[in-house]
Symmetry: C2
Subunit: 770 residues, 2 copies
């Protein structure tokens, strides 16, 4: 755990340069606009430890997989988000000496991620080995207004000398992925050109053939005045640059504004890429840096209007929650249904930048509440469009008749992961995808989605579950053998309660939606049934039989749901009684020892209780929470939020807050010592959930929002924004009471502490805190 | 399945050249002498598909392992037997044209592995693209008399031309392992030299630093007369050769005799390697090819005296059983306790050439009966000497106080394998190592071994098991969680009956041996206990408690032992009802589907019943056999033999024979389509067991050999040799009766069909067949 980020309500701030923190900061200070993003690498050369990263959403490479022992059914490729052309480069040469902070005495170093306005700013003073002192300020951002554009303003002032300063802005396509399995380079050059005021490279990915054109234009200012210095064009394979030499005078600043555009063949015909790139560059150059920056601030202000959570009385918590919200918005804007939310977003290449069940289980609630419903709809459509591949994936594993198994990890719908216990057995992901449809519809009431897309996915998933269970002659019940639950510290177990519960829920929900769709649009239903050979009577009667005859483990004595068969045969030593030196288990214990222990990585039975809370009375929830939480090591970033929400539900406010703390500053404080690989983007949504569903006690029930708020003791107030079925609410919880403003023109009815109240358009209500 | 090997009682014969069969034949016709060995690669160049392989026992390389997802506790290296310098090369050039069977019209091709005399002979006629016709005969062998020596006699006769023939014998150290994980080469050159009549290369392995000197000397004959042709020395990195050009005359044969020696730093000081190599070469050159070959035949005759199994009335079965015995003797001679029996022996590089539990469970019974007891003793000492590493390995997985977990795969005692479900969980291997000690002692009565070595290993293993079980509060019994049994088609299961049975047996046997050793040599016992901190009272009382309170699954209704918890929850469709297209499962089904099915890869419960047969009455054995065998797919080469033995025990002679057939010609007929990777050496011992323990019904009971023979219907008789406690028996079973000759000077008592009979020295008994 680190503690070097300065507290600030609206900015992430690092002061003083510590190379030990640099890679962590490269992750934390990352920028993105949903279309492209990048780690906070320095503009000028840096020979110290650094993880270079520039990413273009949806552009991936199927890297040939590496595996110890091949199992039949493994995929051959792992789709990776690629490190793409680096456009941040502005090399600096001071009278023949390269500026490189690794070789300088650095002072006044300050990095700021301004979340309010959406830019990264860096200041420092440096003295080179030759004794040249400079001051630098660099500001950059990825435009939220024009998501193919970015800009950098880099200002350098010679402090103790006059002489030649050469600034070399470059576009470098000759990049590698650190996680390349066979040290392969993934990009080929298609073309490149130098221009008097810029240049571009057009790269093409191997195998997938994505083309990305990355270009720059620059202008130079000395002491604020435009100048036309001497420019020397440089080109080598996959690389263009312009060496700009300026007669620098002591104390007079030199600024370069580097306008950047990044266009991909996903959005442009390959033959138009270069022309469109130039159009974009010309457009932003015409706009100018200051206007772009002002537009950026305005765009973020608009985002914050619907997204912000204000916490009063705790700057550190305030900073953390905004950081989580900021990063989520940088990662995914919901404009494009081909994109999704990689666990590291644009902050690193780990986990391939691909889609996991995190999206449906954790991110959907956030986007549902804080963004237009089309955002979540696009996340759902992403899966809808991959249904064919999910059916193929099921077929690979022996399922038939249109049964779909969505992949554990994917970019384009093809499974990428290859650990049998995950790829083949962590099948609960399929349920989360159905649950997200349910969640979307209960939140938005957009039942048309079910007719046009949802039902088809739900039937394919129900078909999978109905084939995946098997009949146990011994139990005279259906069983679910050989699965891995969300608790990945158990593998290949039988009758995981969560998976079985989700499976029968999926079948039941599919049947419910069939009825709905038949009523809503019988013709469309009939057409769908015909197209997918859905024999309703036969298939649903099998679903029904499974729902009635499914086996779920339950311990009569403890009165808890059994995570899996045999769980109580394990030695039941609680986490609190584990030696500290043994933690985290996944670094200290061999895998078999973890597997045969009772320790739980993340919510499993409790994840099911969270999903289906309404089915269980408070005492049932409490017994299961009290049994499972003390056995949970929370070694997944996705674990604490569900526990925070349930602890809050159970009235255990102190523990709810404790769990919240574990998730909120996970990356800012490098809690797990892994932030240098990138930030935990998807679990950031869990932080938001902890506040809104935990402290705010927000639920959707019977088509209405309900709240059961409390306020953590340390805070004087917190407030959040919620969009729900067209209404926009601002909920503020303080010691004085709960205030809910309806800032929209639509009247809505909410339930606060169990009492229903209507808030008319632009009105507000106030309720005492309980 | 192929069927191209000609039936012959004493030889393996291939007639006609089919490049499709070449790699299979390279495996089948392999040569070895326990110290070195090689695949049957051609001497002359061959541009067709071939797997080059020359191996030196015990010389390995720790190849950096390749794994998809790292688990804590995985080993970083996999020790591989290396492809070593190729000494078989004799390139042939006919007036400027290379002889290469891939580019010739080949006729009269014949390959013979003469098992009686221990050599490989190849004849062919070839016509080159230029129309040159030659006849070739090549004979080679690895000497059983001098295990660092080998020789080749290669005779070529120009049929339709006179002209220059250049023969280029070479030693090529520039070889690769096909299974190299990172396409690395494993050998560096230390030195090399050309000599007028030969040359050598001295190579050193990377990392492990083994040095191997491989040298040759040659002599040339024309029409049987020694000649001194023109020789041109050739050398390049890691390679020496001599191009010998002979004025060939139509119809007159040219022979080259290539004497080879292969010395390793395991047996010689590195600084002496080259001098000793030359000594060896000079010695064998002085001896001459014909004498060497005669000695080879004599050495094999001696082997066969104790090893041969004669089957009358079935040439194919006769050939097969001799092939199995021949390969086992080529692979391991028992001279060196640093060596072991890799699953592929010297016939291929697959599985790393390392030690598996196959040795203890399958090979030990063979060597016990057919070789001097020191052979098995050396196999036991191999593990004894690795005890320290087994204790370290246990410690890596969290075990303590001297608990040993022997590795799943090893060369020098370090674990090599890395699939968590195998490496960490297939722990029954530890029991097989204890069982081999038990087997050795009951067979040889060498109780001194227990005092000096055996007990120390047994305590370390008992300690492991006593820590590996855990107490189930729910069952109020000890359980064994998270294991993989011999049936690797189940992973991470609880309470595998075989593993649990073996575990408590180990603890019980350790306690029994403690008592024995205390009586035999109290001082040594006390010294051992002090050295390994063995607190007898405390530790054995824990063993005793576990033995008394161990949980074993049992189904009351079926009255069978339960392979594992939950086995009866699986869908019970028998193997016979599986679609043919689904077999073999490991190629047709995804891993999860295999895991949740009831199908068994190889004997598991039945392996336990085989080990501990005396504990169970015939009806118990029958019920378990009748339950498990129909669920067994026998997709391991180790499976059929145990089933053959049990079927024979149950009086099901037809099925016993059927299982025997599956194992006997596995490689000769390329049953599993994988012989090209190498032969299944360790399972060859299972074939022997099928005959001796199956058809012969041989057991050791109360210190005596007992027999319960029957004769397969197709055979007119079969006979085998058994050494037991100093006596040597020849058992012949025919329709007429069972004849047992004692060919030794030691009287012995045997039990035949339950009746005890003493056979005095050099006498015989005869009993009617039952």
């Amino acid at each position: 755990m680190k503690n070097y980020i300065k507290p600030d309500e609206w900015s992430i701030i690092e002061e003083g340069f510590d190379p030990q923190h640099h890679q962590i900061s490269e992750s934390i200070f990352s920028l993105g606009n949903g279309r492209m993003g990048q780690r906070a690498n320095f503009e000028e050369a840096y020979s110290g430890q650094s993880l270079q990263g520039n990413y273009v959403a949806g552009v991936y490479y199927p890297d040939k997989t590496r595996v110890g022992w091949w199992k039949n059914g493994y995929p051959e490729y792992f789709a990776k988000v690629l490190n793409a052309a680096n456009w941040t480069i502005i090399d600096i040469n001071l009278d023949g000496e390269q500026l490189d902070l690794a070789n300088c005495v650095v002072s006044n170093f300050r990095r700021e991620l301004n979340m309010k306005q959406g830019y990264l700013k860096r200041n420092f003073s440096a003295k080179t080995a030759n004794g040249k002192a400079v001051e630098v300020e660099a500001i950059r951002f990825c435009s939220m207004v024009d998501d193919e554009a970015a800009a950098i303003k880099y200002t350098i002032t010679p402090v103790n000398f006059s002489g030649n300063i050469t600034l070399t802005p470059a576009i470098d396509g000759d990049v590698v992925n650190k996680d390349s399995n066979y040290d392969e380079k993934f990009w080929d050059e298609v073309s490149k050109a130098n221009q008097p005021d810029g240049g571009y490279v057009l790269m093409r990915t191997k195998k997938t053939g994505f083309e990305v054109a990355t270009g720059m234009k620059f202008s130079l200012l000395q002491n604020g005045q435009l100048i036309q210095p001497q420019v020397e064009a440089i080109a080598r394979e996959k690389y263009v640059a312009s060496a700009i030499t300026v007669q620098a005078q002591q104390g007079r600043s030199i600024s370069i504004i580097k306008y950047v555009a990044n266009l991909s063949s996903q959005n442009h015909k390959p033959e138009n890429l270069v022309a469109n790139l130039n159009d974009t560059l010309n457009r932003i150059v015409a706009k100018g840096f200051d206007t772009m920056l002002a537009e950026q601030a305005a765009a973020w202000a608009k985002k914050w209007e619907r997204n912000d959570i204000i916490i009063e009385g705790d700057v550190s918590a305030q900073q953390a929650i905004r950081f989580n919200i900021f990063q989520l918005n940088q990662t995914y804007t919901g404009e494009d249904d081909r994109l999704n939310i990689g666990p590291k977003g644009f902050t690193g290449e780990k986990y391939g930048g691909s889609t996991y069940w995190d999206t449906e289980a954790y991110c959907v609630p956030f986007y549902l509440a804080t963004a237009d419903q089309k955002v979540t709809r696009n996340l759902l459509l992403y899966r809808y469009k991959q249904l064919g591949k999910a059916i193929e994936n099921g077929a690979l594993l022996g399922f038939k008749d249109g049964a779909a198994l969505y992949p554990m990890v994917t970019m384009d719908g093809t499974e990428c992961h290859n650990e049998w216990e995950i790829t083949f057995e962590e099948i609960h992901r399929n349920g989360a995808i159905a649950y997200a449809i349910f969640n979307y519809v209960r939140y938005t009431a957009d039942e048309a989605y079910l007719v046009d897309y949802g039902l088809e996915v739900l039937i394919a998933i129900a078909r999978f579950w109905s084939q995946r269970v098997s009949w146990s002659q011994a139990k005279e019940q259906y069983v679910m053998l050989g699965v891995t639950g969300p608790n990945e510290y158990e593998n290949n177990i039988n009758n995981n309660w969560y998976t079985s519960t989700l499976a029968t829920w999926c079948m039941g929900y599919a049947m419910e939606v069939i009825e709905k769709v038949k009523v809503a649009d019988k013709a469309k239903y009939d057409a769908l049934a015909a197209r997918i050979n859905f024999d309703e009577a036969t298939e649903t009667s099998r679903y029904q039989h499974i729902i009635e005859k499914m086996y779920y483990g339950y311990d009569e004595k403890l009165q808890v749901f059994l995570q899996q068969d045999g769980y109580l045969d394990k030695e039941q030593i609680l986490v609190k009684d584990l030696p500290k030196a043994d933690r985290p288990l996944n670094q200290k214990w061999s895998w078999d020892r973890i597997l045969r222990s009772c320790y739980i990585k993340q919510a499993d039975v409790l994840q099911g209780i969270y999903f289906f809370e309404d089915r269980y009375d408070l005492e049932t929830i409490r017994r299961n929470f009290d049994f499972y939480e003390p056995r949970t090591v929370h070694e997944s970033s996705l674990s604490p939020c569900v526990h925070a929400i349930l602890a809050a539900k159970l009235g255990d406010e102190a523990r709810a807050y404790e769990f919240y703390l574990r998730t909120a500053r996970l990356d800012l404080d490098d809690y797990n010592n892994d932030t240098e690989d990138g930030c935990h983007i998807t679990s950031m949504a869990g932080t938001w959930m902890s506040v809104v569903e935990g402290f705010g006690g927000m639920r959707v029930r019977d088509g209405k929002l309900s709240f059961q708020p409390f306020i953590p003791a340390k805070w004087s107030s917190f407030s959040f924004h919620i969009g729900f079925c067209g209404a926009l609410l601002n909920v503020k919880v303080s010691k004085d009471g709960v205030q809910i403003k309806n800032t929209s023109d639509k009247s809505t009815t909410v339930v606060v502490y169990g009492r229903e109240q209507t808030i008319t358009a632009n009105a507000e209500i106030k309720v005492n805190i309980h």
